[in-house]
Amino acid sequence: MNGTTQQNEENTVQTDSAVQPLLSVRDLRVAFGKKKEPNEVLHGVGFDVYPGETVAIVGESGSGKSTTMHAVINLLPGTGRITGGSVLWKGREIANLPRREMEQLRGRDIGLVPQDPMSNLNPVWSIGFQVEEAIRANGVASGRKEVKQRAVEVLEQAGLQNAAQRMKQYPHQFSGGMKQRALIGIGLAANPELLIADEPTSALDVTVQRVVLDHLEKLTSESGTAVVFITHDLGLAAERAEKLIVMYKGNIVESGPSREILQHPQHPYTKRLVSAAPSLASRRIGDDPSVPTAPTSTFDLAALAEETKPKVGKGEPMIEVSDLGKIYKLRKGNFGSEDFHAVSGATFTVNRGETMALVGESGSGKSTIAKMVLQLEKPSSGSIRIAGEETAGLSGRKLFDLRRTLQPVFQDPYGSLDPLHNIGNTIMEPLKIHNVGDAASRKARVLELLDQVALPRELATRYPNELSGGQRQRVAVARGLALKPDILVLDEAVSALDVLVQAQVLDLLAELQRDLGLTYLFITHDLAVVRLIADRVCVMQQGRIVEQATTDEVFENPQQEYTRNLLAAIPGGSIELGVS
């Protein structure tokens, strides 16, 4: 830890003479919990941000990347407090500054774009009101008209169309991207010198992410605002920032120029991160299969992806979807309704042992298809045949039996397991529901499944909240496999996981597919992941399948404009990698 600081200080000594850093953090320590038994989460973090510079702090959840920046602006949640070190803002100490003075600084000098656009806008006030509030609080403009004008301006700058009309709307009328634009607008309302963007686009679709980030980049470079990106996405960080800070368990393990770090990662953790990042790995796979993966790579994803490829077209059709449509009635006005075509004319076939990826942005209808295939929603038109059997009109006993061949794994690893049931009971539940075996054989099956998903058997008596997201997702996979189904429907099953864990789960899925001959319907928004796991891809846009081909065809020779956009929007795709 001491070495960290010393070396960092040396860095500054060399460079300090040229330009004064805007923000200078030295040996920052933050602890949570009781005074007597503090739980230190930052162990002496130090870095500089210069005017106009874009810095990205990269790390997995729990690495301390958000905590660092929250400590800087004194917004640590709960019992969090700075226990050591210093934070200099233009040479002035601001660690543990009185609240009032800090409030002066926040917003005006340091803007913040928070992580979750869904919960960071107050649902009971109109967007306009909230932007105006920020403008008034920062004293950028005064007078009703002026404030309003500035608010419209800010929203327009943030790339919101029809900003004047949108001002009267409420957050629930905004899409995720629009909300994030509004938040960026609020963050930049006072032309701060530093903008902290905490995972600003992690909840957004890739194409929206690209547009929002492009826009943010343009705005900040015009005004010379320095930006600190907090992100888990290495590709995004490398693409958007000149300087990269890699954090791991409350320490900075590596920092420096982005490209250099990506091309010559030095620290074992960074190496691991670089080789597991799907957005970057996707460049490698297929380009030259003879090149072995990095020696530090724990998961041989490239090799796995290679192995699954020859399976295309093998086996009989397991899922046949033809001309599938789903219409929702949207309430319009007080009376009457409007048809909303969530899915229309979807046709595809998935063969045994094959992985079909349904890719699309939110609202493209991919999850609706998943729900219809899982028989959780009834199709409005078209048909779904599972293992050759028509599912329309199936009910009662037959539907119940069908569920044995078809199992889901859902997106949210925190929501998909009942917190009050232990892991053993959770995995056992499908066996109980379907009356498979007796108590002893069920227990044996649970242990077998735990082995299959590479979790220790002792976990059977544990509860979900003791597990990490990746471990929970493995439990969900084990539950899905309990009835020995032929098909797994994976709805964004790895989207919520950190890259390393995501790689591990994908690895597991590929292995299970190989061993058990499973058929996967893989629903995801992340094209980078698709490359690693899928044999064939359906690209969806607004309820329609716009392109359907093998994974290689889609990636190497996309036919549709939309697919090309999606591919181009994968962050970091253009960066050449050199894993040593």
Partner: protein, 317 residues
């Protein structure tokens, strides 16, 4: 990107030995088992308030079950010779206006209060759970009907309702009737609390997962949704036990509670003692004190349970 106006950053690498890299997603199984209820119990166990309230409640329960263990004096025996007499040997709290032993009456009155309290919360809990669960989980028409019926009950002040019920049943007043009068009008609160909780829980992925497994809706409700929704209702119920005990006393005080000739109750005694407030204040104060301590015990327990079941409150202590 703009022309860099700042120095080019150095490539810094932390010493490996100071930042060791652990296995990805390693499983920790050396820690204690934990889920909502286990954590809550562990948290409560450490709080003195829990033990104090548990002690009070235990004593109160003992007294109500075995009053003879605490006094040998007949609480009904009236000797006008001792009217409002002060404490004497074997009569630690003295006598009331009727010349009855105050201590004995408090001891024998406990079971009335406690049983009314328990019956009421049991009733609110059961009715509230059924109504709230059905309304929240099935929604739509069921929800509309249950919620509106609840609103009707809710709109009548329960004291007024209880007074009416007790007047109607003036001939057959007993513990069950008075509990019905109190509990019959307080379930809508319980139902509402549970309903709103269920509305949240039913959207969880694990509910959809169970449905996709083929579990029937009723079983999903009973096995997954309800257990995950009960915590706030349990807290509210624990707290309302105190309110029910007070309500019994209030009704008795108003003269529409349990008939004084058949039942010994704190409320009746408090009511009877108000005339002697000036001459013998202790006849009023002692039963009130018993009521206060009992209520305090249950309120404290409710608070502890609430804190223990709310992970946020736990983290902030």
């Amino acid at each position: 990107m703009p022309e860099p106006k700042h120095p080019i950053p150095e490539h810094f690498v932390a010493p490996f030995d100071e930042t060791p890299v652990a296995a990805v997603d390693a499983v920790k199984i050396d820690e204690k088992k934990s889920n909502l209820w286990l954590d809550a119990w562990r948290d409560m166990r450490r709080r003195p308030m829990f033990w104090i309230s548990a002690l009070i409640i235990l004593v109160v329960l003992l007294v109500s079950l075995f009053p003879t263990l605490f006094t040998q004096v007949d609480p009904r025996a009236a000797d006008l010779e001792f009217t409002k007499a002060g404490p004497s040997d074997g009569h630690p709290l003295g006598f009331n206006n009727q010349g009855q032993d105050i201590y004995a009456r408090i001891i024998y009155g406990t079971s009335t209060s406690v049983s009314v309290g328990l019956v009421v919360i049991l009733m609110t809990f059961v009715i509230g759970t059924i109504m709230g669960a059905l309304a929240g989980y099935f929604g739509g028409f069921v929800d509309t009907v249950i919620s509106r019926v609840g609103d009707i009950f809710f709109s009548i002040p329960y004291i007024l309702a209880a007074v009416i019920v007790m007047t109607v049943f003036s001939e057959h007043r007993n513990v069950f009737v008075i509990s019905l009068a109190i509990g019959g009008f307080s379930w809508p609160v319980a139902a509402r609390i549970l309903r709103s909780e269920i509305l949240q829980v039913k959207n969880a992925d694990f509910v959809m997962a169970s449905e996709a497994l083929g579990l029937s809706r009723m079983k999903t409700l009973a096995r997954h949704v309800l257990p995950n929704s009960l915590a706030p209702l349990i807290v509210a119920t624990t707290l309302s036990l105190a309110a029910a005990i007070v309500a019994e006393s209030v009704l008795s005080f108003l003269g529409v509670g349990l008939p004084a000739k058949d039942f010994i109750s704190w409320g009746n005694d408090i009511s009877a003692a108000q005339r002697d407030l000036r001459t013998a204040p202790m006849t009023l104060i002692y039963p009130s004190l018993a009521l206060t301590i009992t209520v305090l015990g249950f309120v404290m327990l409710g608070e502890v349970v609430r804190d223990a079941l709310d992970p946020k409150a736990r983290a902030q202590r």
